[in-house]
Each structure stands twice: as structure tokens, then as C-alpha cells.
């Protein structure tokens, strides 16, 4: 048995170390280490309730809006606030801009550059892949970065700036949109649609969103080999990416993008092949292998966060969230599976969740989100309000009703690009008395729990092939990055 310690594991957001026990050319056991602690939950306790909206986005520079959305939703539940339809649409748009940017940033900057590694130099597809996807110097980054920067102009109009907007409030958005702003947004959205259709898919978004089976996907890939999605599918087939990083067979979604009566992407749990209602109250964190006080675990409504280095079993600053005592995978694959997107359902039924299906789900979801954005934008009524303040506007100095709340609690459940994100808080006399956060990668990259059950990535890595002499096995890199981890969220 050989021990490999991989780090700094880059092209993930934040700090990550992966420890592998390798024997007979494959990974036998994995320990995933989050080596940074920051302590946002403790920082927030005692602050005025509204300050959560300044601190929360700064948990993460890549899922900044997701953190704002979760914090605002938790405050809304605690105070009885709620957004009018315009506010809901506008916040969904802001959130969608971030999610789409994150999905494509992952694809172009984080995931695909690994296929330009010298380890693949003898593959027939290598010269084209290296020219296209190499880190920093590849054609794809040169095309993607200007398109991404223009896409983020949506944020200038919708949210003032990105990352770290303060426009997302429990009662809606501070940034109302007039007819001129709506026209500008429609133009930016159309422009980005053009980039995605030409470059990413080489096809209409509708055709991607409605792909219905793995056979249909295979036929599509043949016909669109010149698109970046087509190139990925060909490389994935050749490298048998579908054999890497198997899912644990259990997926959940808190539900993405609230609508008047639910979510655009459904909330739920998929296990043993069945979709079920999600028992949110069955969420609890285990700290048996993390550097926290032994009393810190439990449900997020009561859990605590006290760094404690003297736990000999601990190896990560990541707690181990469990649903009904067992791990669960979150992310775009989980979201599309729970929502019943037919291609993803079929792929998982045939091949299970794996490194390839995670990437496919992210790109299919990108197409679906862009189409949803067009409908939200069309539904905004510029003469109606974007925010409900809930206080007498003449009461100067009370910027919003959240300052008045006392003795109430709230949960903000949202879907970040990387999966389910929850904020649980309790307010007392307008101040924060309790704050707990469970981020997507906390689920996916959790350490072992008290039963010794490893987290989803730790399980997914078992069996990953390691070539002789490899110190940073390329297969391991594919598996880890297929989850699109965000470690800065994890180690809030």
C-alpha cells in the first residue's frame, strides 16, 4: 500500500488536499482534507440581523449570490418577509447569471484543461484537445473569458456588481428594473445565448434541454463533434470517464429557483432509483472526524462551531453532514435527476452517476437555465414593485423590517451551482443568536462520520486507476474536479 498526498489541489475553488492509499494500480481508500478554517458562523453571532447580508456573500467569491440568496431566504422565513413576483424573478435572474457563469467557468477553466496534460500525449485526440483546452494558452479560454466578462454585465444592471452584491434582500431586490434596463438585459442574454449556441453546443439550447436519452445523446455527439460539448463527449468516451468517480446512489436537491408555487428545479431526494420527498428535518452534521468540539454536531438548528484541534480522529475542517444518518451527493447531477430531466435520468439508470454524467448534467442544466431566464425576464412588469419593505417608509433609519424581528428562526434552503446550500439562523432582539451553514461541498467532500462511513468523494475515489509512477494521478484529478468543489464555501 502506498500513500499519496495530493495538494495544493488547484482549479478548484479554495484549498484542498486528497490523501490516497493506493495498491495494485488503484485507489483503495481516500481521505479528503479541507485544510483552512475561517469561522463565519461564529462571526455572525451577535451582529445585527441585516449584517448577515453583508457577511454571507463574502463566504464565497464564486457562489457569492447563492450565499446571499440563502441568507435572505433564512431572514425572510424568520421575519415573515417575502418578495413580490418582480423581486423573485430579478433574484432568480441574478442567481442564474452566477450559476451559468460557474458551470461554464468550471468546464472551460477547471475541468477541461486536464485533457491537455502530457499524460494523454499519445491519445489520438490529444493535439486538438491540447490546442483547444490547455490552461491559460488554449483557444477555448481565449474565447470564453471575453464572453464571460460580457455575461457578467448582467450583474452590473441587475445587482450593482458581482461578486458581493447587497441587492438581494428578504423582501426582494433593491435594484428595480425599468424598461431600458430590461431591454439591455434582453440584449445581453441574447448575446450570451449566441456564444453558448455557437461555441459550447453548436446547436440550439432547446435541442440540448430536450435531449431525452443516452442514445439520443450519442447521436447528437456524432452530429456535433465540432462543438466543445461534442469534443468533451468524444474525449469522455475515449477515456471511459463514465467508469470514474461512481456516485453513492443517493442524491438530493433543495429545489432551484423559487416560483409562485414551488421551484423551477424540483426539491427532492433520489435513492434506490426512486424519487422521494426530502426530509429536511433529517439533516444533521457529524463532527467525529473534524476539528470541532464533540458537542458541535447535530441538526443545523442547534449545531455549533468551535474549532478544537485535540481530536485524534479528525483530519478536516469540513463537518460531515448526513441525511437520515447517511451521506448524499449534491450538485447539478442531483438537481437534474431529482427534477426528472429525461436524459440525465436515463444516463444514471444505465451507467449510474459518475465523472462524465456530472459534467453532462452541468451543461444540460446550463441550457435549461438560459431558457428559464428568458421566461423570467419576459414576466417582469416594470411598473410593479421589486421589493416589499414591510415597514412604514417614513420610519427613518429602519432600513428594513429585519431589524425588528425577535425570537424567530428561519431556514434558507437554496441551490448553488455546486448543489444544496442551507443557512439556519435564529434572531433575538433583532440580532443574530444562532447561525449555521451547510454548503454543497460540505456534503460532497465530507470526511468520515462516527460509523466510519466515508463522504461521497471519498467513496467515489475508491477504485480509481493510478498509473505506475503517477504522483498526482490524472484520473483522480478528473474525479475530484467532476464535483466542481468549492472549498471556500466548505470551510466557511
Amino acid at each position: 500500500m502506498t500513500r499519496l498526498v495530493l495538494g495544493p489541489f488547484n482549479r478548484v475553488e479554495g484549498d484542498l488536499e486528497v490523501r490516497l492509499d493506493v495498491a495494485s494500480g488503484e485507489v483503495r481508500a481516500a481521505h479528503v482534507v479541507a485544510p483552512l478554517y475561517r469561522g463565519f458562523e461564529a462571526m455572525l453571532v451577535g451582529r445585527s440581523a441585516a449584517d448577515a447580508l453583508v457577511y454571507a456573500p463574502r463566504i464565497c467569491g464564486i457562489c457569492s449570490v447563492s450565499q446571499s440568496v440563502a441568507a435572505a431566504a433564512a431572514l425572510a422565513e424568520a421575519t415573515g418577509a417575502g418578495a413580490p413576483p418582480n423581486g423573485r424573478h430579478a433574484i432568480n435572474l441574478v442567481h442564474a447569471v452566477e450559476n451559468v457563469a460557474d458551470h461554464l467557468t468550471h468546464f472551460y477553466l477547471f475541468f477541461m484543461p486536464d485533457f491537455a496534460r502530457p499524460a494523454y500525449a499519445t491519445a489520438p485526440w490529444y493535439p486538438a484537445a491540447a490546442a483547444r483546452f490547455a490552461a491559460i494558452h488554449g483557444e477555448a479560454s481565449a474565447a470564453f473569458l471575453p464572453a464571460r466578462a460580457q455575461w457578467m454585465q448582467m450583474m452590473g444592471v441587475l445587482a450593482g456588481k458581482w461578486p458581493h452584491t447587497l441587492s438581494i434582500q428578504p423582501g426582494g431586490t433593491t435594484r428595480g428594473l425599468d424598461r431600458g434596463a430590461l431591454a439591455r438585459l434582453a440584449g445581453l442574454l441574447a448575446g450570451f445565448r449566441r456564444f453558448v449556441e455557437r461555441t459550447v453546443f453548436g446547436d440550439r439550447l432547446e435541442n440540448i434541454a430536450h435531449l431525452a436519452s443516452s442514445d439520443a445523446l450519442a447521436a447528437w455527439a456524432e452530429a456535433h463533434a465540432g462543438s466543445d460539448f461534442g469534443r468533451f463527449l468524444a474525449i469522455a468516451r475515449s477515456t471511459r470517464l463514465d467508469r470514474l468517480g461512481p456516485s453513492i446512489g443517493r442524491w438530493m436537491s433543495f429545489g432551484g429557483y423559487p416560483t409562485a408555487d414551488g421551484h423551477a428545479f424540483a426539491r427532492g431526494l433520489v435513492e434506490e432509483g426512486w424519487r422521494r420527498p426530502l426530509p429536511v428535518e433529517a439533516i444533521a452534521e457529524d463532527v467525529s472526524h473534524a476539528w470541532y468540539g464533540l458537542q458541535d454536531g447535530g441538526p443545523p438548528t442547534t449545531g455549533r462551531t468551535h474549532p478544537q484541534l485535540d481530536n485524534a480522529d479528525a483530519y478536516s475542517w469540513c463537518k460531515a453532514p448526513r441525511l437520515d444518518g447517511r451521506p448524499v451527493e449534491v450538485g447539478a447531477l442531483a438537481r437534474q435527476l431529482v427534477d426528472g430531466q429525461t436524459l440525465i435520468v436515463d444516463l444514471v439508470a444505465r451507467y449510474g452517476g459518475n465523472a462524465a454524467t456530472r459534467v453532462i448534467a452541468r451543461l444540460v442544466e446550463t441550457a435549461r437555465i438560459l431558457l428559464l431566464m428568458e421566461t423570467w425576464l419576459a414576466e417582469i412588469r416594470p411598473d410593479e414593485t421589486f421589493i416589499r419593505h414591510g415597514v412604514d417608509p417614513r420610519a427613518a433609519g429602519t432600513a428594513s423590517r429585519i431589524g425588528d424581528a425577535s425570537g424567530s428562526s428561519g431556514a434558507g434552503l437554496s441551490e448553488a451551482a455546486r448543489g444544496s446550500l442551507g443557512h439556519w439562523l435564529r434572531l433575538r432582539d433583532g440580532r443574530i443568536a444562532h447561525y449555521q451553514i451547510i454548503a454543497p461541498t460540505t456534503w460532497n467532500f465530507s470526511p468520515r462520520d462516527a460509523t466510519g462511513t466515508p463522504g461521497p468523494l471519498e467513496q467515489a475515489l475508491c477504485g480509481t486507476p493510478v498509473r505506475p509512477g503517477e504522483t498526482d494521478p490524472v484520473s483522480v484529478q478528473h474525479v475530484v474536479r467532476s464535483f466542481d468543489p468549492c472549498m471556500v464555501c466548505t470551510v466557511h
Partner: protein, 333 residues
């Protein structure tokens, strides 16, 4: 052609948002901008291919002096806790405190740049009593020192250059790097907190679309309203040093454009304002955070005069989410 410069970028106690903001560089995009400045990335955590042992080797070579490092950018605060051990952030794959690596690289680099308010002062990471002992490279909040000490000078002779902001505007860093590459960044280009004057010679107030409301002290009462946010909503734009309303964010935006106040995120200690971020503390009804270089008595006198003279249009619009009274050319009525 001059030699190209090498840039090493590390992250510690922060959110990565400055890197992500930087990816939004426009006209030209980030990779073109760096190339135009003659800067090559030795390693960047989000952009480089090299991972694990390859990345470690690059960092080790810089520390050993085997590989030149012209510019060292740190993003995120230095994590000194618990009890000064740096154990809250160990470099993945090495078990070494990041704090020590940062110290060693800073000693080897020609220029050291703190990217964002966390790396400059501690920032948000130092909020809430700073239980993690976060600091900036050369400041601990407002106190000179930080990790490297107040006497620190990089090999090139400059102190740590603090491109502060939460997050940075992409241009603040891109232009600073261009000045470094051209040999034009000297002490005269830095302000009293060693921030590049190219963005701190301005106040956030400059170019604010609410200036007419400010002139007449026509104030917003709630976030989302059009009026000036200084009197009631905690806006620090008249004191904050940055060009956010001269140089827009993400095409056309700014915090003020988003209808929420400036929280002075380029300043040390901004994370603990001593009051709610969207509240204006007042004494006797007068905001305590008046423009710093204006005599208070004059401000109060002018404010009461201008309040009395507020046009009905501004008074109506100040507390509205959209214009309810429009400017009008009277020759057309």
C-alpha cells in the same frame, strides 16, 4: 523588448472573490491584459494546469531562489491562529502553515501585492472579534505590522502594495500590474495606506448618480429608493476612497447603482463599522460620518440651507423606487 515578468499568486484566508472579480476584466480580457503587460503566470490556483507536486515544486523553487518571482500576489488574509501557530491554514500536500510559506515567498519576490482587503488588512476574515487571528501582509486592521512587519520592503524597494477592496475591481489590479511591469510604480504612486492612487485618488462619491440628491440632502429612507443614502442608510461614499462611480463595475454597475450603500470596503477595518452596515449613526440627528475634509459647521449650515431649497422633483423622487417627477423643459409645456 523588455524581459517578461513572472507572477506567483497564492490564496489564504479569503473567499476567492478577488480572483473571480479579476476574471471579469473587460476590454481586454484578463489573459490578454496580462500578456500585454508582459506578465507570465508562474502559478495561479484557479488558472494554472500545474497541480499538487508540480505546484509545490514551483513554490519551492521561488523560495529557494532558483526561480525568479517578480510579483507575488496574495489573496485572502494571513491565518495566524490558533495561538500564532498558523494551523488554521496548512498548505495542502505539505502540512506546513501557509503563513510561513507566505513569509518566505514575500522575502524572495521583487514586488509584493496584497490583493483585496483581506490580504491588505485582514478584512472580513478578521470580523467578529477575529478569533482566527487573521491579518494583512503589512497591517493588522489599522495597525501597521501584520505578518511582515512595518519595516518590510520587497526586493524591489517598495512596501506591500495594497490593492484593497472587497472585492477588487479588476482594473485596479490590472493597471497596478501594468505600472509595475513598466517600472513606474514608485512610492509617489501609493497613498497613505500604500494603495495605488490610480483608484484611491477618487472618492466613491465622485460620479455618483445620486449627487443631485446629495446636493439638496434629499435622502432615501429605504434601500431601493433613489435618494442619497448618506443620511439614513449608512452610505460612506463621501469618505470612501475608490473610483467605483467613475469606473463602473461589470459594465454599468456600482453598489450605489444597485441601490445599496457604499460600505467603504477599501478601508482597513471596514468589516466592523461599529453600527449596522445599512444604518447611519447620528448625534443630535446629524450623521457622525460627514465628509472628512469639510468643516462640520459649514456642512450643517449648507445642509439645512439646501434642504430648505430642495426642488419638489427631488423631494418626491428621493423616497421613490423610480422617477415619479421628471425633469421638464418648460418651453414645451
Amino acid at each position: 523588448m523588455a524581459d517578461r515578468l513572472s507572477l506567483l499568486w497564492l490564496q489564504s484566508g479569503g473567499c476567492g472573490g478577488c480572483s473571480l472579480s479579476l476574471l471579469g476584466a473587460e476590454a481586454p480580457d484578463l489573459l490578454t491584459a496580462l500578456d500585454a503587460a508582459g506578465i507570465d503566470l508562474l502559478w495561479h490556483p484557479s488558472l494554472s494546469e500545474a497541480s499538487g507536486s508540480e505546484a509545490q515544486a514551483i513554490i519551492e523553487a521561488v523560495i529557494a531562489g532558483d526561480r525568479g518571482c517578480d510579483i507575488f500576489c496574495l489573496e485572502g488574509a494571513v491565518m495566524r491562529g490558533p495561538d500564532g501557530t498558523g494551523r488554521f491554514h496548512l498548505v495542502p500536500g505539505t502540512g506546513m502553515p501557509m503563513m510561513e510559506r507566505i513569509r518566505a515567498i514575500a522575502a524572495a519576490a521583487r514586488h509584493v501585492v496584497a490583493v483585496g482587503s483581506c490580504a491588505a488588512w485582514g478584512g472580513i476574515t478578521a470580523g467578529g472579534g477575529n478569533a482566527v487571528e487573521a491579518s494583512g501582509l503589512a497591517y493588522d486592521g489599522r495597525t501597521p505590522g501584520g505578518l511582515l512587519g512595518k519595516a518590510f520592503r520587497a526586493q524591489g524597494g517598495l512596501p506591500v502594495v495594497n490593492v484593497a477592496g472587497c472585492p477588487i475591481h479588476p482594473d485596479w489590479l490590472v493597471e497596478t500590474l501594468h505600472l509595475i511591469a513598466r517600472g513606474e510604480l514608485d512610492a509617489a504612486q501609493l497613498d497613505e495606506w500604500e494603495r495605488p492612487r490610480l483608484y484611491t485618488s477618487h472618492l466613491v462619491h465622485h460620479g455618483c448618480a445620486r449627487n443631485e440628491f446629495y446636493e439638496f440632502k434629499a435622502s432615501a429612507q429605504l434601500l431601493s429608493q433613489m435618494g442619497c443614502m448618506m443620511e439614513h442608510l449608512g452610505c460612506k461614499g463621501t469618505q470612501a476612497r475608490a473610483d467605483c462611480n467613475v469606473r463602473p463595475w461589470n459594465g454599468t454597475g456600482s453598489c450605489l447603482h444597485g441601490n445599496y450603500p457604499c460600505i467603504n470596503c477599501t478601508a482597513p477595518g471596514f468589516e466592523e463599522p461599529g453600527h449596522g452596515f445599512v444604518e447611519t449613526p447620528k448625534i443630535g440627528g446629524i450623521p457622525i460620518g460627514l465628509p472628512t475634509d469639510m468643516p462640520k459647521a459649514w456642512f450643517v449650515a449648507l445642509a439645512s440651507l439646501s434642504k430648505a431649497a430642495t426642488p419638489a422633483r427631488l423631494r418626491a423622487n428621493a423616497t421613490a423606487d423610480r422617477p415619479v417627477a421628471n425633469p421638464l423643459d418648460r418651453s414645451r409645456t
